[in-house]
Amino acid sequence: MSEPTVRIQKIKKDTVKTRLIVFGTLAAILLVCSVFCEYLTPYDPYLQDLSNAKTPPSAEHLFGTDRYGRDMLSRVIAGSRTSIYSTLLLVAIVTAFGTCVGVFCGWHGGWIDTVLMRISDMFLAFPGLVFALAVAGVLGGGLQNAIIALAAISWPKYARIARSQTLSQKETSWLKAAKLSGSGTWKMIFKHILPNIIGPILVTSMLDIGTMMMELAGLSFLGLGAKPPTAEWGSMMSDTRSLLATHPWVTLSPGFAIFISVMIFNLLGDTIRDYADPKNRMSC
């Protein structure tokens, strides 16, 4: 009788696993590209060749060239380092910081919780990108300041998730049982709370990789992130937006790169959520 349900669970588990492998591999390829971008670019991404400017995509230049005759494919590959690296760094900082604050607040409670949560409310009260603009404006342009600006507005989300999850974990019988088993605060946090709350937090951060990538590109597009001639997808789109009607490949190739990477990371985030759900891991 139980045979059919067992099989269904197995199939479901398998598809999740396959998706995880597929999107994990794709994301890994992106990462490898960004790490080894010097060796992967067919041409020097900064080498200008004005006689060859604005040529349409051809066998020689797969994505064409921009107005200075720089090979677009090389620039898109070189841009992956700036874009993906800084996005991952940003998400890692924000996730770690937000989670720490949230778990601390949820666990400790009391006035510290109130103070920290009101501070996070303050950050949430600003429209995100406007606040990032203000921070980037005060600290000056540049990729580093854009990361700081976006980190400042993004951590409260993680703090709130971590806090609410910690609060609900605190009420569970298994945590009481762990306490009765003589586990100290750190043991309870690292062995029982974090493993149970990390799923939703990781999913949020995975889904946020896409958003952050776009916001970083957005700040760069507005001239507050990476400065030209640094190859960065947002600033590349910004530089060439006037060419959109006449030479669309110049604008579209970094745009397409953003689109593809954002999508891969979003799908990876979804898959990790499905995989992390303990109910999906029923293995009978």
Partner: protein
């Protein structure tokens, strides 16, 4: 004989903003002697769980004192409290929810042993033995809580509670979430453990089913709205109830 657990004038008042204070437990006192099984019975909201939470120090008492094995634990904290937990363990109402879904039953059962400094291999052997004592095979140590039935999980929970060899076992509605036949199995297991441990193990048995209490306990306390309204031997209480609530409770099951 010295009581193992001495609860004196225990009171818990919940303060709520904008509402009058609520006295969940109102100056209750009782003793629990070594080897005894004491039943605590009452309807939902009568304060049974609040009493248990105060005894296990999951909740602070507003007034009164709790003395376990000659030691005042009313305000025990930190490492002092961890020592207290080596004498007192609890079995929870919902079996599957009392185990961390990300860890195996074996991890849960062995946690107190690991925390008391036992090595990994020794803990593994000990866990297998404990599971065996509670009517489970050692393979259950590798299972996750959602892979076993409620009754099996409750057996593992009893194994976990007994791992550290406590003097006091608190069963907070340990059989309420189980169906009748499994309830009987768990009671049989508890009875067997009692006869095996003798005066080494006392049980505080919280329940809302007077029939179970009659079957299992040496003495019973009846709680109603935060007060102990009646106490005595289960048969005396059932045959000759003095309090109105107890009368209603008994007529309701007949």
């Amino acid at each position: 004989m010295e009581p193992l657990l001495k609860v004196n004038n225990l009171t818990r008042i919940f303060t709520r903003a904008g509402q009058p204070d609520f006295t969940a437990v109102n100056h209750i006192s009782f003793d629990l002697y070594p080897g005894e099984c004491l039943g605590l019975i009452g309807e939902s909201g009568s304060g049974k769980t609040t009493v248990v939470n105060m005894i296990t120090r999951l909740l602070d008492a507003s007034m009164g004192s709790i003395v376990l094995d000659g030691e005042d634990i009313t305000n025990a904290k930190g490492s002092e409290l961890r020592k207290v937990y080596r004498k007192m363990q609890m079995v929870f109402q919902t079996p599957t929810e009392s185990f961390d879904p990300r860890r195996t039953l074996g991890d849960g059962v062995g946690e107190s042993l690991r925390n008391s400094g036992m090595s990994r291999e020794e803990t593994k052997r000990e866990v297998a033995k404990l599971l065996n004592d509670c009517g489970l095979t050692p393979e259950f140590a590798e299972r996750y809580p959602y892979q076993v039935s409620g009754g099996q999980c409750q057996r593992a929970a009893i194994a976990r509670a007994l791992a550290i060899k406590p003097k006091l076992l608190i069963c907070d509605e340990a059989t309420s979430a189980l169906d009748v036949t499994i309830q009987q199995e768990i009671l049989a297991l508890l009875n067997e453990l009692r006869s095996r441990h003798g005066a080494e193990l006392s049980i505080l048995f919280i329940c809302h089913d007077i029939a179970l209490v009659q079957q299992f306990c040496d003495r019973v306390l009846v709680m109603y709205k935060g007060n102990i309204v009646e106490q005595g031997k289960p048969n005396d209480v059932i045959r000759n109830p003095k309090d109105d609530y107890t009368k209603r409770l008994i007529t309701s099951i007949l």
